[in-house]
Amino acid sequence: MTAGVDHPARTTPYARAVFAQARMEARLLVRSAESLVVTLGIPLGVLVFFSSVDVLPTGEQRPVDFLVPGVLAISVAATGLVAVAIQTAFERKYGVLKRLGGTPLPRWGFLAAKGLAVAAILTVQSALIVGIAALVLDWRPAGGALVLPLGVGLGAVTFTAIGLLLAGSLRAEGTLAVSNALFLVLLLVSGVAFDAGALPPAVAVVGQALPVGALGEVLRVGASGQGVALAAVGVLAGWGLVAIAIAARTFRWEP
């Protein structure tokens, strides 16, 4: 039938392999109901509910102007930190990472595929959030055509790195708990769902130094047409670099 004994020339089709792996990753992210609740349900729910019901302190802006950048930041964190972390953690637990390590798909190819899958999911998420905000909630940003996509991209790298850091070092169940808890805490202290002015000042400062707060700041400043919030970009990139450095050392591929 099948032997490969007379096939001496074997060049791994890297591009085909990476795209196939990315498609698989994206399909699995979408297939998991829990993951969909976190990546789409929570951000869109926050957006629609709090734009329509004026209960949250959103500063002096219209709720929707305040909320859209924050919700974008939440959705990036939800995908990178929660969905990717949990999926990868269970891939490791079930030996999927180990088994893939025995195929011609190299590790960089696997990580590239994760990145592509995250990019695809985030594109859909962001399009839905911006689309609903613009069409249903009458959101008219003053700027950010460049800053918003770039900010989302930088945030995606940072949060995916944090997610992989958790998935590669903790047990799967630990990753599940820690990533959800982190997500909730970041959401509350970062001034993305409601104005940080409502928080105790010390908490607000900490929130701005954390990656969700920093991403929210980058996106909010961008959407209001005030250019690039450099300090926040630095905070966000710093978290990303630290997470990548630690993950590169601690990531375990085997169960």
């Binding site: 004994v5 795209f19 698989m24 025995g102």
Partner: protein, 348 residues
């Protein structure tokens, strides 16, 4: 072992020289030498914890040996992974498949990793997963999961296949089906290394059997070589607890109860011996179970060599099934077991 350029093309598919691996204080592999020839099916047989999986995982590139060298198709499994992986198929003990993925999409995914893969649909049909192609992995039966793992090992048309307990947890029918696939691989000239603790599996499939215990190679040979010991003996089963001393006097040779109800007579198999044995059994009204002369079963070899199931009767002057390790048919020099510490000596 030195390889001259002239014979390099005949170099074994897999060469393991002085392999040693420990985990913390536990020695998993302790100076193992093994050569697997191209197109050969080799069974690594041994009790749980003997070092089978560690050996295979060193060959697959998952483990870094503490000492010794491993070459697969002449390549270092870790350093040359990019060149080697396209030519090797493997099956881990644990499935290694996304629980919510479906067989069709997983085989399709793995096919896309290889330059010239098998047709995924035809492969699924061949391993009997046609009806389950849309079933999530976690909902497959144990046998279906194993067959999917086998399909993933084969989809890239490998030259070498490592199968770690490919039939673990399968019912007899599914096991025989897997055996059929493995026989096809042998027909196709694929080099196969499989680990098993099933003696009949090794006997059924393997060109050669390597028996491993405590991380050492303790016997290596074809099933025939291993089961034809160099000593004459006759084994029989009967009710346990026979008076072996009296029986020994009656047949004029020593008789040992190897395990409860299984007896070994160390003597050349001649008609007179059988007649004296039969007479004694008749006189003591003992019903004979099995009677086997000459060839021992692989199970006897295995139990004699490993200390998993020590002989019930310790009165004999020597262990009943202690055979000198058989020599490999192809390369006598690599066949003898070595008792050595994990010296960093490297060959090849």
């Amino acid at each position: 072992m030195t390889i001259s350029p002239a014979t390099a093309f005949e170099r074994p598919a897999i060469e393991v020289v002085g392999l040693a691996k420990r985990y913390g204080g536990t020695v998993a592999v302790d100076g193992l030498d093994l050569a697997v020839h191209r197109g050969e099916t080799l069974a690594l047989l041994g009790p749980n914890g003997a070092g089978k999986t560690t050996t295979v995982e060193c060959c697959e590139g998952y483990r870094i040996p503490d000492a010794g060298t491993v070459r697969v198709l002449g390549l270092d499994p870790r350093r040359d992974a990019a060149a080697l992986r396209p030519r090797v198929g493997l099956m881990l003990q644990e499935g290694g498949v996304y629980p919510v993925a479906r067989p069709a999409e997983v085989v399709q995914l793995f096919a896309s990793f290889y330059a010239d893969p098998l047709d995924p649909d035809a492969l699924l049909e061949r391993v009997g997963l046609d009806d389950a192609r849309r079933t999530r992995f976690r909902d497959l039966s144990g046998g279906q999961k194993q067959r999917l793992s086998l399909a993933l090992a084969l989809v890239g048309r490998p030259e070498v296949v490592f199968l770690d307990e490919p039939t673990a947890g399968l019912d007899p029918a599914a096991r025989h089906r897997t055996w059929e696939h493995l026989r096809e691989l042998r027909t196709d000239g694929v080099t196969v290394v499989l680990t098993t603790h099933l003696l009949d599996e090794a006997e059924e499939l393997a060109d050669r059997v390597a028996i491993i215990d405590h991380g050492r190679l303790i016997a290596l040979g074809t099933p025939d070589e291993l089961t034809h010991g160099d000593r004459d003996e006759l084994t029989f089963t009967a009710r346990p607890g026979l008076d072996t001393a009296d029986l020994g006097r009656a047949v004029d040779v020593e008789v040992i109860e190897m395990r409860a109800g299984r007896y070994v007579v160390h003597a050349p198999n001649d008609p007179g011996l059988v007649a004296r044995l039969a007479t004694w059994l008749e006189r003591h009204d003992v019903r004979l179970g099995e009677l086997q002369a000459g060839k021992r079963s692989l199970e006897q070899v295995f139990l004699g060599l490993t200390d998993e199931d020590p002989p019930a009767d310790a009165q004999g002057p020597r262990p009943p099934a202690q055979v000198p390790p058989a020599r490999s048919a192809g390369s006598p020099s690599d066949a003898s077991p070595r008792q050595r510490s994990d010296s960093p000596e490297v060959g090849a």
